[in-house]
Amino acid sequence: MSEAVEAEVKTNPQGDPVSSAPVAPPAASGRKDPHGDAKKQREVTADHMFFEAPREREFITGSEAAKEAVRRSNVDVAIAYPITPQSETMQLIGVLYGEGYVKEYYRGEEEYGVMSAIAGASRAGVRCFTATAGPGTLRGIEPIASWPGHRLPAVAMFTCRVVNAPLAIQPDNIEIAYLLNCGMIVFHAENQQDLFDYIMKGFIISEKNDVTLPVGVACDGFFVTHARGYCSMQDRSMKLPARDPYRGAVPVLDAENPPARLSRDAPVQKSNFMAYNIHGVWQQEVWAAVERSRKYIDYYMEGLVEAQNVEGADVLIIASGSAAAQSREAVRLCTEKGIQAGFIKIRSLRPFPTNELRQLCAKAKLIVIPEFNYVGWLAKDVATAIYGFSKAKVVAGPHVYGGMSMPVEMIVDEVECGLTGKKSHTVPESHIMGTVDPAAMAQFMKSI
């Protein structure tokens, strides 16, 4: 009951007392203050949170991992929408709002409205979080695609689901293909632990002065959001430092400082040389900011990729998200069969680990890229990155989609087919690059 007697001192994100704070309920009522624990949270540095603070392991769902990450991230505003289709993540963030860990929260009208409101709140200088999935991502994609250009720091979680007809709610990460070209930073979480870490680190990277961009943390719906996994977490009595609204590449819109030219100059849309020039330069700057985030991803997330057994391996399996979990097991099976196989997990899709892959893939003979979507967006990016730097045959597959799971044997089959030249059961020849047939290669580039 000690919480009940805590004097309430409401502060703004800078830690200054706010005089209008409501008076704490009288301690005599004997009722526990629902915000008691949240009020006792103390801010620690990002370095302490990520590298020093002791962690305890829990067996939780991905949505719960996201909730626990937000609890420790000092989030000001979270805006929710229930379905199209959604995980339970945003309703769990609602629980955090009830407990006082998130200061402002509401259920929006639909994703366009939610993503627009996130844009407004981020402009106000506060830390924002939202989550959506599949068709919701595409419904919100117009505002989402404009966040980077408006230089709006925020973290959005995408729990990937089917977006194409026929309507379904199954896991399928094709929506990431749309996010890759927005100018936002995109991480792909393999499991509950990744989700927890990437969200928290995402806030810090997003708000770095020379980045000032939104971070999208994607994971494969159901496989990560609804399933349980082990997640090592810092004590909930700690939270990250608040967002400093004045530490950004463009000023926040609070009428306390001169607004950015972008906010004032709507006539950028006019058709004249200056308009083209301004818009062109702005896009360059957004992507330059994506580039500048590399050093922070290296620092906080141990790099854009994770590599295992790559040295001396003939075969490399490259994957992101849930496909990475399947690939780890495939590597183990390959090793049992006497195949020298290595594994590369791509943590960050934007920025893309181009140089890392060029180096890691230099000596490989075969690269297999399993994905949970039909189009093979990851294979396309990998092939583009290593072209001219590796002589490996690249197998864009196996692919599963529409909610199918990926048996590990499918990946092992592709490794064996790739090495022996045997015809694959699931990957068409046109999706195999580096074979003798240049026409098949051209067909592949056209088809992806």
């Binding site: 703004n12 366009y112 409205g113 627009s116 407004g120």
Partner: protein, 296 residues
């Protein structure tokens, strides 16, 4: 309120353009200015790229003069003619995506309240009839139902002016326009009725040819939105290009339309009346003295 940012860094004043110096020395920031003083101070919006005779521009200019705290006001808009003028004003303007203005304003207003507490930071949405009643309809209505505390102003020219004269939901029935070659087939949308149903604390219609009335409704709407709830102003701001109104007849047209279908109307909740009366000295909303009540 941070008036510091409109001031010069010491020693740099003399190098600043005259427009800027006028704004700092004779602008309305930190002062109480009114439309009756026009010509005696530097306005926040003067130059703009709008068509000659544009009634919308006059309305926007009057509206901005009327903001009770221009130095702490942030405007939000969307695609349309209005933003071309609003973006030229010397106060922050958010120009996001198509029809997103009430969503953006919801997040912005909540975020600013978290950071600044009771210090007023007024958020004012100014968007066209298409932006408000068509493409931004869901976000507009939902922001009202959610009781978001900011002002929404519709610049109603009854047509998509910026895109070249297409029918909008606010166009009158039977009007022939682009995309309505046989005349519009349904009635002008009753956004005023919907604003009341959705819970706006203050709803008013106004035309720009009565500056004092524009000032009055804008001030009330912005003040009520600070504490009480959403407010909505629907302003007839004709498009003299698409409706072929001769430039020198724009004000006459406004008068005619006012008399015909755009009569001044004002709806205000009791809570908002009491708030204006008690906090901002609106005597007409204060309870009548006991003697007067007894007499009546």
């Amino acid at each position: 309120m941070s008036l510091d940012y409109v001031k010069f860094t010491p020693g740099f004043g003399k190098f600043m353009p005259k427009e800027y110096r006028d704004m700092v020395e004779h602008g309305p920031f930190g002062k109480k200015t009114s439309v009756s003083q026009v010509g005696t101070f530097k306005e926040i919006l003067e130059e703009h790229p709008m068509c000659a005779g544009c009634a919308m521009t006059l309305f926007i200019r009057l509206a901005i003069i009327s903001f009770p705290n221009p130095e702490d006001t942030i405007t939000v808009g969307t695609a349309g003619c209005g933003r071309l003028a609003i973006s030229q004003a010397a106060i922050p303007f958010v120009y996001g995506n198509y029809g997103d203005q009430n969503g953006v304003a919801s997040g912005l207003s909540r975020g600013l309240r978290l950071r600044f507490g009771d210090r007023p930071k007024d958020v004012v949405v100014m968007a066209g009839d298409g932006g408000t009643a068509d493409i931004g309809f869901a976000q507009t209505l939902h922001s009202w139902f959610r009781k978001e505390k900011f002002t929404t102003i519709m610049l109603d020219n009854e047509v998509y002016g910026n895109t070249g004269g297409q029918e909008s939901g606010m166009t009158n029935k039977n009007q022939v326009l682009k995309m309505a070659p046989l005349g519009k087939k349904f009635e002008k949308m009753d956004m005023l009725g919907m604003a009341k149903v959705a819970g706006c604390a203050y709803v008013a219609t106004v035309v720009p040819n009565n500056p004092r009335r524009v000032e009055s409704v804008i001030k009330k709407a912005v003040l009520i939105a600070r504490e009480i709830g959403p407010t909505y102003i629907q302003a007839y701001t004709s498009c003299n290009i698409e409706y072929a109104i001769p430039t020198d007849k724009v004000m006459e047209d406004a008068k005619e339309v006012e008399n015909d279908r755009y009569k001044f109307s004002e709806y205000i909740t009791d809570e908002a009346k009491q708030y204006l009366g008690e906090l901002y000295g609106y005597k007409e909303y204060l309870p009548k003295p006991a003697a007067a009540v007894a007499k009546s």
